[in-house]
């Protein structure tokens, strides 16, 4: 009897699944935020990422994403992420012809880096856990909304956020207007405390004067989007994103080298060589984003472009291309190409000249004039109607330019390239 019930339930599920597809097709319900599938109750996406930079950080990051379909146009999305970082991170100082000694983030001890190599802090370690939940539903004809909450915690950072998105369909669901809002209240608490900005690192003692244990940071974003069905095989989206960050935006671990204005050499006095960086406490940024998906017979071409600008003086261009090449009905290969180019922040300085200390300064290469190129390949295999396996490998190269080269600095590679590889395994299951 129980077996019979189970069989009936399974059959009912299959029929309701087919009906859902038919209904979705009839209503023209192309969901722009999520996948359209048969109405299986659960959808699981699991992935593990391994990311490694040459001589720098390595990261392992597993993710579980679950999506529950309640069958009445409402869904619950859950995501759990854990990431573990280890390795060395550039501290911002320039390489010199002799070995250099620094004070660790904790302020309790020193570390020394070799001559003629970019100084890396070898004690970079972090573990982060993040959870996000959001619920989406249709609350009126042609209207959909989602409400989300996210929380993450790591050794030196905590973040709590809320977000909401509203979608309104027009033109027989060929066009969708999107409004997205999000707010994050974060807390920055670096190991060893927050140093006084633009003060010298005390190397000989060693010690670290601490301004406070933690500082706040608030981030909000507004997104306005338009999604357009261009034809039977073309979908396009155009977004405008306005965001603001305020509070402690400085990286408490980063320093700048202070040099002689003619020779470019560091001071003889060990305690007057490195300054803790300082960034403005407010940043407004905007982005225009466009993406297009086109299907050929069975292959799919995806292209996106983003133009970004902010009031720190950074503008950037990002172009991303993927081509999904179908190899029979169950396998595909997807080459990926991404190119990113940014201008430097107004306060980016590869080094500072003695006696000419500005109000804001950072030598973080991520704020320098920089390009980043990604080449990747993904292989996907449909194991059954309800499960899929994927593996992708990518190579990322970042090349940044120094803001200024002074005297003897010309013999050094002031901002060396950063090379990274990425390997990701994924498995998806619906039931």
């Amino acid at each position: 009897m129980q077996l019979k019930n189970k069989t009936l339930k399974k059959k009912h599920k299959q029929v309701s699944g087919s009906l859902a597809i038919a209904t979705a097709s009839l209503l023209g319900c192309v969901s722009h935020s999520s996948t359209v599938q048969a109405a299986e109750d659960w959808e699981f996406d699991t992935s593990v990422l391994y990311y490694s930079e040459t001589d720098r950080v390595s990261l392992v990051e597993p993710i579980i994403r679950a999506r529950k379909d309640f069958g009445d146009d409402s869904f619950l999305n859950l995501r759990l992420v854990v990431d573990t970082l280890t390795g060395s991170s550039a501290n911002g100082a320039i390489p010199t012809s002799s070995a250099q000694t620094f004070t660790s983030a904790s302020g309790n001890n020193n570390y020394t880096t070799q001559a003629n190599t970019a100084p890396l802090d070898p004690n970079f370690r972090d573990t982060r856990g993040a959870v996000s939940v959001d619920w989406e539903h249709s609350f009126a004809k042609d209207w959909r909304a989602s409400y989300g909450f996210n929380y993450s915690n790591e050794i030196n950072y905590e973040s709590i956020g809320i977000s909401t998105t509203f979608n309104r369909d027009f033109n027989q669901k060929n066009s969708t207007l999107t409004l997205g809002l999000s707010y994050n209240a974060d807390s920055v608490n670096p190991i060893g405390g927050i140093p006084f900005a633009l003060t010298f690192m005390d190397v000989t003692t060693p010690s670290k004067a601490v301004k406070s244990g933690s500082e706040d940071k608030n981030v909000y974003d507004i997104l306005l989007g338009w999604t357009q069905v261009i034809g039977r095989k073309d979908l396009m989206q155009f977004n405008f994103n306005y965001g603001n960050e305020s509070g402690y935006l400085t990286d408490g671990y980063k320093i700048l080298s202070v040099v002689d204005g003619t020779t470019g050499d560091l001071s003889v006095n060990l305690d007057q060589r490195y300054l803790y960086e300082k960034r403005p406490d407010d940043r407004t940024r905007q982005a225009l984003y466009w993406r297009w998906s086109h299907q050929f017979d069975t292959d799919v071409f995806r292209l996106s472009y983003r133009y970004f600008w902010d009031d720190w003086g950074i503008t950037s261009h990002t172009i991303d291309m993927r081509y999904r090449y179908e190899m029979g009905s169950k396998h595909f290969l997807e080459p990926h190409l991404r190119y990113y180019s940014q201008s430097a922040a107004d306060f980016y300085h590869t080094s500072l000249v003695q006696g000419q200390i500005p109000n804001y300064a950072s030598a973080d290469y991520r704020l320098a004039e920089m390009t980043s190129t990604t080449i990747g390949l993904k292989y996907g295999y449909e194991l059954s109607d309800s499960s899929e396996f994927g593996v992708r490998i990518e190579s990322i190269i970042q090349q940044a330019d120094p803001s200024q080269v002074i005297g003897n600095q010309s013999s050094q590679d002031l901002v060396p390239d950063v090379e990274a590889i990425l390997l990701q395994l994924s498995y998806s299951l619906r039931f």
Partner: protein
């Protein structure tokens, strides 16, 4: 001081903006795709984010390694990686 590369990318940008505008206008002025013609658009591979985990991880990596963020969506959560 902008590099030659940056100027080249800016030119490509203008070109892309023109292509985008033309395509969007073409889409808005053409006949709507009817519900019974949605078979291709309904496929997983034709969704804007067919693999949400890939998109999430990419966003995390580039947010950590570059100075730009946002555009594709709102929200996502904070991180001390930048």
């Amino acid at each position: 001081m902008m590099s030659k590369e940056f100027v080249l990318v800016r030119k490509i940008t203008y070109l892309l903006l023109v292509v985008m505008s033309v395509l969007i206008m073409a889409g808005c002025s053409s006949q709507p795709v009817q519900p019974w013609d949605r078979d291709v658009l309904a496929q997983k591979k034709m969704q804007l984010e067919p693999y949400p985990n890939d998109a999430f991880l990419d966003e995390h990596i580039y947010f950590s390694k570059e100075a730009s963020r946002g555009g594709a969506g709102a929200g996502g959560g904070g991180c001390g990686c930048n």
